[in-house]
Structure formats: structure tokens, C-alpha cells
């Protein structure tokens, strides 16, 4: 890890750690619930990538907009959406953020400017440029942030959008979560250029490369990227190098044809949560007791979320026909 810790920020570090741990535990339980058949459809877990969502969203203010793909549980939680509301959505219940209509891939919380939750690779990239366009149009200085995987940079929507974002100077930050694989395809087998951030060259756009396992590094890079967007409408393409511990979705193998168990174990040594915890202990900025109670509180919170989701009701059948059009 490159960044050095600043004792004055202890509270902030604890918060980052707490958020990452919350996501980790939430996802572990979501996976278990999927195995029990309580969660259906495609369920893409974020385990291993927690530092990217937590570090980058920590650099935003509430009025900034966040748009993510289908692997977005972590982003929603980092944005402050209640675990209850996210878990209930995974369960398809009425108390879910999207009233049970969206599910795991389509989490929305407009009250928090969290605009999904999108399932077509690349399709949400222009949406983020659109919300950024609106912010500028309305004379606000809110920034839009778009999260997507490294495999999405090869699709047309990425190219068309980055060109317009740079050409029109839109206040948007594009964050590529490079977890090395798009389903079973390694970056090197899908992209002619292996440094994803280099793709910024075609748009004369600012670029950043960051260790996506170092939450503080992500926060720092995001802070300056957001500042560029907010202060002078300059978009940035950030590549955060991270890793996905689980299979592409709960329906996919964790390793096998496309990656080895060894590679997986090796990558887990970079664990973002364990990494920050160890550094805080070294720097005597956290005690084992403090961490244990943090963990205990989170376990409680997720247990509560699971209970809520279990007990919550299904949407009434009439909801099938609501929200097709506005009324």
C-alpha cells in the first residue's frame, strides 16, 4: 500500500473500515440467502472490491449523483442506503429500495441521488454523462460518478460517451473497477491495450491509476478527480485495480477454466479490509477491541436487515401494472 496514514483522520479511517466491513458482511449474507433461494435472478457480489466504492463515494457530497452497473450492492450501501432496504430488494419485497421490482441488479434510491443499478454493460455510462450535462445545464456544481468494469471499456457506449464528456466538458468521473475479468474473460483477451487508464488518450481526458485495494489511495485520487469536475468541468477516467473474490454471479464458478485457485488466494493477500485494519493496528489507530465491537455492530445490523427482508411483504399483485407509465 502506498498511502501513509494521518493520525488526525482516525475517525475517518474507522468510518471507511466500517463501511467496507458492512459491505463484506452484507454480501456474505446475501450470498448465503441466494443459496437458500431467498434471493433470485442474477446476483453479482462485490466482495474484494469494497475499497473502490467506499473510498470514492467518501469523496462525494450528497448532491452528487452515482450511477453503477449490476454489481452495485456495495455502492448503494456506501451511499448510505439502509442495509434493510437493499436486502429487502434482493428478496424482492415491497420494502426494497425499488419496491421489489428491480432486484439485485436494479437498486435505485433517488432520495440519495443513487440512480441504479443497470444491467446492460456500458448502457449506464451515457446516463452518467446525461446527469452531468443536467447539473451543468442547471448551473449547479454537482458531479456525476459512473462505476463500471474493465470489460465495459470495449463497448461503443464507453467510447461515444467519453468523447462527448471531454468535448463538452461535463462534470463526470468515470471509475473503471478493473477486477481483471469480464465474466470468464481476462482483460488481456478482450482489450488491445492492457492499461485501461490509457484509453483516456483518445479523448484528451485526465486519467488516474490507483490501487483499488487501498481505500485511502482511492479516496485521495477521487478527491482530486471530483475537484477537477466540480471546479472546471473536467472529466476524469480512473482505473482502480481490484479483484473479485466470488464468481461473476452467484450462478458462476469462483475459479475454474478462466482463473486458478492460486491466483485467487494470491489476490486475497491484498484484501482491502484486512489491509486497512492491519495498518491501523500498526499505527495504533485502532485496537482489537474496537475492531471487534465494530464487527459485532455490523453483524447485528445485517442480521436485522435479513430479518426485515424475511418478514417484509411481497408487493401486491396489482403492482404488476403500476409504474409502466407515470400517472
Amino acid at each position: 500500500m502506498t498511502t501513509t496514514l494521518d493520525a488526525a483522520k482516525q475517525g475517518f479511517y474507522h468510518d471507511l473500515l466500517r463501511q467496507m466491513l458492512l459491505i463484506r458482511v452484507f454480501e456474505e449474507q446475501a450470498g448465503a440467502a441466494y443459496a437458500q433461494g431467498k434471493v433470485g435472478g442474477f446476483c453479482h457480489l462485490y466482495i474484494g472490491q469494497e475499497a473502490v466504492a467506499v473510498g470514492s463515494i467518501a469523496a462525494l457530497r450528497e448532491s452528487d449523483t452515482i450511477i453503477a452497473a449490476y454489481r452495485e450492492h456495495g455502492h448503494a450501501l456506501a451511499r448510505g442506503v439502509a442495509p434493510r432496504a437493499v436486502m429487502a430488494e434482493l428478496y424482492g419485497k415491497l420494502g426494497g429500495v425499488s419496491k421489489g421490482k428491480g432486484g439485485s441488479m436494479h437498486l435505485f434510491d433517488v432520495s440519495r441521488n443513487f440512480l441504479g443499478g443497470h444491467g446492460i454493460v456500458g448502457s449506464h455510462i451515457p446516463l452518467a454523462a446525461g446527469t452531468a450535462f443536467a447539473s451543468k445545464y442547471q448551473g449547479k456544481d454537482d458531479v456525476s460518478v459512473c462505476f463500471f468494469g474493465e470489460a465495459a471499456v470495449n463497448i461503443g457506449a464507453f467510447h461515444e460517451t467519453l468523447n462527448m464528456a471531454a468535448l463538452w466538458k461535463l462534470p463526470v468521473v468515470f471509475i473503471v473497477e478493473n477486477n481483471r475479468y469480464g465474466m470468464g474473460t481476462a482483460l488481456e483477451r478482450a482489450s488491445a491495450v492492457w492499461n485501461v487508464y490509457e484509453r483516456a488518450c483518445s479523448y484528451d481526458m485526465d486519467e488516474e491509476l490507483v490501487d483499488g485495494m487501498d481505500v485511502v489511495a482511492v479516496y485521495d485520487v477521487m478527491t482530486r478527480s471530483v475537484a477537477r469536475a466540480r471546479e472546471r468541468n473536467a472529466p476524469t477516467l480512473i482505473e482502480a485495480r481490484t479483484y473479485r473474490y466470488m464468481g461473476h454471479s452467484m450462478a458462476d464458478p469462483i475459479h475454474g477454466h478462466y482463473r486458478t485457485k492460486e491466483e485467487l488466494e494470491e489476490q486475497k493477500a491484498r484484501d482491502p479490509i484486512e489491509g486497512l485494519r492491519a495498518r491501523l493496528l500498526d499505527a495504533e489507530l485502532i485496537t482489537d477491541e474496537a475492531f471487534a465491537s465494530m464487527r459485532a455492530a455490523i453483524d447485528e445490523e445485517i442480521k436485522d436487515a435479513l430479518a426485515f427482508a424475511d418478514e417484509d411483504e411481497d408487493p401486491p399483485l396489482d403492482d404488476l401494472y403500476t409504474h409502466v407509465y407515470t400517472d
Binding site: G100, G130, S135, T161
Partner: protein, 327 residues
């Protein structure tokens, strides 16, 4: 009332709505400096400036998505496709984003965007530039589909579309831009979802929309002169939602129905009208419903072949002979 062109009627609708609501903006290829490929946006750049009249790169998928994103953020974008043929590149944003976001988000997200531009065949533009996609968009729940035939309807329906909170597919007749018709000077709108009886009659119902309304009207004149047949001409105006009541009322009176459209026959708009009419007016029908459509071929360049491919009064009259058993 002054008679103005369909083009100018659309231009007035855009200008009036942009005047009325600063959230309305126009984006597309050549809409600004070039004054619009078909001059529908003439003068708007000069009047509203380049933040509200935005020229785009050739990137249909990208700018359609930017329009959807801007709508999610509360603006009312009017996205112009130079022609609907090119919208095939953007169709993922129209179908997977615009049409579904309100539903997927449990009613939180609204997408008040209007996608507009010329559709259907023109003159000798050949296969890739001569296509009518009304039936495709009308297939999609979440979209409303509008296809005006006259300057009066064009202006009134575009104003209603811009004010509607749902994504609208507004298909203009490329061959209609220069046609003239009376348009009141005072403010008015035409509600979506209402067909219009363009000519009253007793013996047969001619269902049509956009360009084929003129074909039906010409045919109806000749029908009365040549065959003493009194045809009622029903202009759908809005394809989705479809105003089946107006059609059924007419068929209840005439007991015979011919449907005319510019597009291809298989799963065309007329097929749906047949489906509805035979169900709601089964006992009213004295003859099978006959359709007059564009030939079931890619449009050829040669002008004689092209003419033969399009609906015309002769073919409508032949169809009426069929349904009135005067063959």
C-alpha cells in the same frame, strides 16, 4: 387560420415549448449551426443558444443515453435522430433504459424525454434509409408512440409529447415536411392517445397514420366518385396507446375495414389493429379486414420499383373492393 408547413408547425412547437419551459432542450446531429438536416430546428440555435440547442457528434447511442440521463435528472430533452433509421444504433437506450427505468425503480425515476425525427420512406433513398419502425416501438411497454399526419396534429402532438412525463417516440413523416395545413395562431395541444376521424363515411373504415392518411383521403374521394362507396378515414395519430374505441365505433357503423401503413406487413401496426378489431367488433365485421402495406422487401433505389413498393390509392381501392365484395 394561416396555412403553414408540417416542418414549421414542428418548429413552432419546439420554439413555444422551449420558451415556456427552460428545462426543455434540443440535442442531435446538425440541429444547431446547420439549422437541422430537415430544417425543423431552423432559428432555434440563434434564439436559445448552444446550451439548449446542442449539436452532437455522430454517436446515436451515446447522445440518446445522455438524453435519458438528463431526463432522469429532471430536464425535458428533445433528442433528434436525423432519421429513425439511425436510431437502431440507439435502440438499447430507448428500450432498455428509457422505457424501463420508471418501472425498474419502483416509480422513483421519471424519463420525460422525446425522441423525434423523420421516419418511413422518402424518395429513392434505398434500403437503409427507407424504413418505418412504428410497430417496433409500439411493441414496448413504457414507450408512447406518436406519428402525426398534418401540421395541426404535428404541432399539437409534439407539444403534448414534450409535456408528457414518459419517454415518447415521435415519428415524423419525412415526406410530409413540406405539406401545408391550417394551424391556429393561439396556443393549443392535441392529447396523446386519441385517433381522429379525418373524413366521415358509412361503407368502409380506412385506418391509417402519418403519410398514408393522404393516401386514404385520396382513395376515399375516388371511392365515392368511382364506386359510390362512402369511406370513413380514421387517422390513428398515436400508435401507442392505441385508440381502439374510435376504430371500433367506426367499424360498428361500416362493418368493413381496410388498414393502410407505409411499413412492412409482418407484425406491423395494422396487424395489431386487426387483432383488436376482430376481438372487439367480431360480429360487426361483414368481411375479413384487409391491409395495404409497404411491400415486404428492403426498399429498392429505382424509382419505379420504389413506387410499386408503396401504398397508393389504387391499392386501397382494390382492397375496398375486396372487403365490399365488388372484386
Amino acid at each position: 387560420m394561416p396555412a403553414i408547413t408540417y416542418r414549421d408547425a414542428l418548429n413552432q412547437a419546439l420554439e413555444e415549448e422551449m420558451e415556456r419551459d427552460s428545462d426543455v432542450f434540443l440535442m442531435g446531429e446538425e440541429v444547431g449551426v446547420y439549422q437541422g438536416a430537415y430544417k425543423v430546428s431552423r432559428g432555434l440555435l440563434e434564439k436559445f443558444g448552444d446550451q439548449r440547442v446542442v449539436d452532437t457528434p455522430i454517436a446515436e447511442l451515446g447522445f440518446a443515453g445522455i438524453g435519458v440521463g438528463a431526463a432522469m435528472a429532471g430536464l425535458r430533452p428533445v433528442i433528434e435522430f436525423m432519421t429513425w433509421n439511425f436510431a437502431l444504433l440507439a435502440i438499447d437506450q430507448i428500450v432498455n433504459s428509457a422505457a424501463k427505468l420508471h418501472y425498474m425503480s419502483g416509480g422513483q425515476v421519471r424519463v420525460p424525454v422525446v425522441f423525434r425525427g423523420p421516419g418511413g420512406s422518402a424518395l429513392q433513398l434505398a434500403a437503409q434509409h427507407s424504413q418505418a419502425f412504428e410497430s417496433w416501438y409500439a411493441h414496448i411497454p413504457g414507450l408512447k408512440v406518436v406519428a402525426p399526419a398534418t401540421p395541426y396534429d404535428a404541432k399539437g402532438l409534439l407539444k403534448s409529447s414534450i409535456r408528457d412525463d414518459n419517454p415518447i417516440v415521435f415519428i415524423e413523416g419525412e415526406m410530409l415536411y413540406n405539406t401545408k395545413g391550417e394551424v391556429p395562431e393561439e396556443e393549443y395541444t392535441v392529447p396523446l392517445g386519441q385517433a381522429d376521424v379525418k373524413r366521415a363515411g358509412d361503407d368502409v373504415t380506412l385506418v391509417c397514420h402519418s403519410k398514408t392518411v393522404a393516401v386514404a383521403l385520396k382513395a376515399s374521394e375516388r371511392l365515392s366518385e368511382e364506386l359510390g362507396v362512402s369511406a370513413e378515414v380514421v387517422d390513428l395519430r398515436t400508435i401507442r396507446p392505441l385508440d381502439i374505441d374510435t376504430i371500433a365505433n367506426s367499424v360498428a357503423k361500416t362493418n368493413r375495414c381496410v388498414i393502410i401503413e407505409d411499413g412492412w406487413p409482418f407484425c406491423g401496426v395494422g396487424a395489431q389493429v386487426v387483432d383488436d378489431v376482430q376481438r372487439v367488433a367480431f360480429d360487426d365485421l361483414d368481411a375479413p379486414i384487409v391491409r395495404v402495406t409497404g411491400a415486404d422487401v428492403p426498399m429498392p433505389y429505382n424509382k419505379h420499383l420504389e413506387r410499386a413498393a408503396k401504398p397508393n390509392p389504387d391499392r386501397v381501392i382494390a382492397a375496398v373492393r375486396q372487403v365490399t365484395y365488388q372484386a
